[in-house]
Symmetry: C2
Subunit: 438 residues, 2 copies
């Protein structure tokens, strides 16, 4: 069956958890020629991205050049490019000025933020999906404290010291907890005028509880932990209006200068133009072997895809799903090249977890539910293990140990949006400068 | 003489090496109220900035929040603001909408790049003075290799693999050596199409030798070391024309996509509007106690000032000068508050050094001249010692040890200029996108 003269070609679109898993599975096969196409040069360890936004970690500590991961695999080519189109019928991928045909295509381009059609909210309330957004959120939070320190009008000072996080899922909970904690421990001694103990953090959740994908008991515990950090949790409430001075949450107007978006997501843009069956969120519907209904040599995995379990529910958009799907797809391609039949994908649910702050987390695995310090240790341990595939593990570990004992946040850099130093321009806060740049 | 009810006020404009040294000297005095005004929230360890540009270090590893340095000193206030004007006659500093009078003002706002009047060159050839510029240079260098990998036209590929550094001082030498080294060791295995051993680095120096401030013997050695790394040194030559496709160096056109500026500097903008005696470069001329001729309570130190020695020559714009001047000014203010007279500044020249690459450096201290591995170890040792004042020393040390043994560059992140991910836009190289953003 082997035909070394005639290698099969595989295109992997996106180098997130899903895409990298496929590539890792295939990298050692000499029967295959693999192209990884991504508009970024790095793979990002997204579960720790909020730590970059909170000045706890450096961007490069949670990212690794894609090329570096496959430097020893001469059959893997990494292409820095944005894919314009994937043609299902002809099995072609278009990028730059190239239209290339592949024997297999794996669509693994993930999700982006969804503002429920209100696209102008993006500028007012950045989400947390990539490094630029993380450093922008970091810039806004740190700048808000600086402006609070300078502000003489007490009402305005209060609005600089008020932060709203929209969306009570794991990311929203992590961000809200971290802002409250950072203001009241790490930063509090650094300011002379602004009293950072007066920092207010609002977490706004449309549903009836935070962490809706967790068991109710853990939601209650997370809410309790958030309150103990000083976060005000507002449930059953949607943000109906956003501006540069605050937001409307139900009947209440919250006056605040910093808003962070952790609510809706939708599939990456390339999914829209792909001509295949989709669910109401726009995710690509896949068969039991994760291929598309109309072309069995094109797979979709991770956040861009929707896989229905036997009970009719779908798998959540989390890293373990993308990783297991990537490994599965890799195995199917390897099997098929060797003339073996395909299997059926089954997700092994190892559990879910979220951290709320220093020594506070919730973990749910099967019937096991852990909270508090034990859950936090579990969270740290598992994240270190997963990062261990990268060289960055050592530095992250040191940063964490250091931060834990010093209550420090090591990466408190305010970096400006444009590299040419804003000559002549005033130092401005957050979205106030946006109009001139967009 | 002590008058606690009536504290003297000191404004320090700029938190570089000079400004921080003054503040450190004064921070423990209860007779003084100190304002540090900077448009950045961080103090930057500039001698290692080129390592950020070369993806060797993270920005936060060479920077520290100014507030953090003085968190225990309740008489020190840190203000994030850009100073608009310093009025010599009335001893006032204007920033934001405030015009504040101080008993003492220390002007320590440093230098910026000077393009000999050709301001459009700034976009084509960024310099290396702040974090944004360092990450922009990093982005351009890493992106150039990515485009070389994708380019099918061999001439164009060659121009992506060609880098020009303008200016043969310590910064230019460090950058040129580091690019050549990175291409030929760290990165060479990561690319499949582009042959990074073919990378060309040009170092263009207007004078007759590189490192003109060093003894001739060390200049020759540095040139020899650069050549051994594959850098082409072009002396006695000025860049007369720059474009996005290359530059004119004397009679030769160098076709290249990446140009880095390490040539002229001039004082920061605030110096221009300050009404006092200046030299032909625009630097503020200071008296023997580092005060301005027309107001003895206003001092100027570091790169923004020019201090003439007894032999008529002036002190170079390097960190040790700024540090010693800062300490001196701090001491004069402390003395004066106690009713003691001022002294005369004398610079203690401990020496100068420059690194060329892994295990290659030149050090000159008095009659002592060191080269090669011993000089490099000296360089590393001294930079670690100076960084030791910051918490960052531990991480920098680990990064260096790691990088030395792994030949790695840990921070190889291509981060885009705008935080909102260039939706719909093509991935572009360096200055090609500038027109739309400026």
């Amino acid at each position: 069956m082997k035909n070394k003269q005639n290698k099969k070609s595989v295109a992997i679109v996106g180098a997130g958890f899903g895409g990298i898993s496929v590539a890792r599975k295939l990298a050692k096969s000499s029967d295959l020629e693999i192209h990884i196409i991504d508009r970024r040069n790095h793979h990002l360890f997204q579960p720790l991205l909020y730590q970059v936004a909170m000045a706890g970690l450096n961007p490069s500590e949670i990212s690794v050049p894609i090329r570096r991961l496959f430097r020893r695999n001469s059959n893997v080519r990494v292409v820095l490019a944005e894919v314009d189109n994937i043609d299902i019928n002809s099995s072609t991928v278009s990028y730059d000025d190239i239209k290339a045909k592949f024997d297999y295509i794996v669509i693994a381009c993930g999700a982006k933020h969804f503002y429920f059609g209100k696209n102008d909210w993006e500028v007012l309330a950045p989400g947390l999906k990539n490094i630029e957004q993380a450093t922008e959120i970091r810039r806004r939070i740190l700048t808000a404290f600086e402006f609070a320190e300078k502000e003489k009008d007490l009402e305005k000072q209060k609005s600089y010291l008020t932060f709203s996080v929209i969306g009570g899922g794991p990311t929203g909970v992590e961000i809200a907890g971290a802002i409250a904690e950072m203001a009241k421990t790490t930063l509090v001694d650094d300011y002379r005028v602004a009293d950072l103990t007066q920092t207010k953090v609002y977490l706004i959740e449309a549903g009836s509880r935070v962490l809706p994908s967790f068991p109710e008991k853990l939601s209650r515990r997370a809410e309790h932990d958030l309150k103990s950090l000083g976060v005000t949790v507002i449930k059953n409430t949607r943000a109906s209006d956003l501006s540069s001075t605050g937001l409307q949450a139900g009947a209440n107007w919250i006056s605040c200068k910093t808003i962070i978006w952790a609510a809706g997501v939708k599939p990456a843009s390339i999914a829209e133009s792909t001509d295949t069956k989709k669910d109401e969120q726009g995710r690509l519907v896949v068969c039991e072997d994760l291929s598309l209904p109309s072309n069995k040599n094109i797979f979709a995995i991770g956040d861009v895809a929707v896989f229905y379990k036997e009970d009719g529910t779908s798998l959540p958009g989390i890293a373990p799903v993308a990783i297991q799907q990537g490994q599965f797809v890799g195995k199917q391609i390897l099997n098929e090249v060797k003339g073996r039949p395909r299997g059926v994908f089954r997700y092994w649910d190892k559990g879910i977890m979220a951290t709320i702050g220093r020594s506070k987390a919730v973990v749910c695995s099967g019937n096991l539910q852990i909270t508090g310090f034990a859950a936090w240790l579990t969270w740290v341990f598992i994240h270190i293990i997963y990062l261990m595939r990268f060289k960055n593990r050592v530095f992250v570990f040191f940063q964490w140990v250091w931060a834990y004992f010093s209550f420090g946040h090591g990466a408190r850099l305010i970096v400006h949006k444009t590299w040419r130093f804003y000559s002549g321009k005033k130092i401005t806060y957050g979205s106030e400068t946006e109009s001139s740049e967009t």
